[in-house]
Symmetry: C2
Subunit: 225 residues, 2 copies
């Protein structure tokens, strides 16, 4: 099946990374892929646009099925290969509810991380210290929430309980930015333990962003959070 798949991706992009983790977890190694450079704007190429009118990465195709939104691709893979590899969405509705809750909450953490770490993407004349300060406060509160979730579930827990699930697939690539960008450990000690627990998991190691391997230290954008 993996031979009929094609993934266009960019190194370090949380949306791309989560699809790659899902592919690994579902034992779909051997899928075709093409690493594109955001810097060179290769994601704006005709090749990508033919499959993705948003000209964004990831762009993912399986046979004739095109599914580009990263969360959608992950859910699709789980559904199409339910009994293959890791079961990422449990059958029990109560457990499912928590998985879905954390999957969708990931958007909050991701956006708030972007709003601080990539604040310099705001055009220069439109930046305000007051806005950055507010973004930072909002991110700190968000981290506290997630740290609380892990604290409540106890040592060694995954994001939605005792098992690795879709919540971990979609959220880990966001969480990995915090140590990389030098976020102070005390802002989210439980999340950092969780990061340590997961960073060598085979699916995650196999899909680790290549430019992070080359340069393990990221900029210290979150140092003063």
């Amino acid at each position: 099946m993996a031979q009929s798949m094609m993934l266009y991706w960019g190194s370090g992009s949380p949306p791309c990374w989560r699809v790659m983790i899902a592919l690994e977890e579902k034992m779909l190694q051997g899928y075709n892929h093409k690493l594109l450079s955001f810097e060179k704007k290769e994601h704006k190429s005709e090749e990508v646009k033919a499959l993705n009118p948003r000209a964004e990465l990831p762009t993912f195709k399986h046979g004739d099925i095109v599914v580009n939104e990263s969360f959608a691709a992950c859910l699709y893979l789980e559904s199409a290969f339910k009994s293959q590899g890791t079961r990422l969405i449990p059958d029990d509705p109560a457990e499912q509810a928590l998985v879905y809750q954390r999957v969708f909450e990931t958007n909050n953490l991701q956006q708030k991380m972007y709003d601080v770490a990539f604040y310099d993407h705001v055009p220069e004349g439109e930046r305000h210290e007051s806005a950055l300060k507010r973004n930072k406060e909002s991110l700190i509160a968000e981290l506290k929430l997630w740290d609380g979730y892990l604290e409540k579930m106890g040592k060694g827990s995954y994001l939605a309980g005792k098992n690795f699930t879709m919540a971990d697939v979609v959220c880990f690539p966001v969480i990995a930015y915090f140590p990389r960008l030098h976020c102070p450990r005390e802002r989210c000690p439980r999340l950092m333990e969780y990061y340590e627990m997961l960073k060598d998991r085979p699916s995650i190691k196999a899909s680790w962003p290549p430019h992070w391997l080359e340069k393990p230290e990221g900029p210290d954008t979150l140092k003063n959070l």
Copy 2:
């Protein structure tokens, strides 16, 4: 089952509305609910916070299961009541892929609509004509995308094909803002036909925002889009 459910909601909030449409489609009429006022900050009450650390609406509980993210609540309801009411997620993986794709793309449409319609939520000293202009261009491009999806699928189509699905449940409440806020029809003629086709659907009519019923005309925030 509906008697063991409790929904805290606010009138006109797309996230609340989509959960209410899902409840209607799954034949869960009779659920307990409490309408709260955003203006009076009733969503910041202890009653809500006890269930939702984000103190946001919707806040939704079914028995002991709490699931507050609106998309997550919708997916949970479909899963827990799969064979009851409308089937919102098809079995076929190819059809499913398109439903998931449109469900997650809804976040783009919603955010871009907010970024224009509610630009005055940006603190006064931080507003810029250049930012609002960019937001408007981005929203116009987004509308063009969605209009193209409908155009391609043909007259009378729902967002993910010939059947009403989860994509319609989650996206309709966002689409309904465009006519309400006087968006020029030519910006998205197919979306406006789609709106006309769906606005009297029982699940949608039954959950129509009460303050929209009282005041059918909204402000003309999108008039100059």
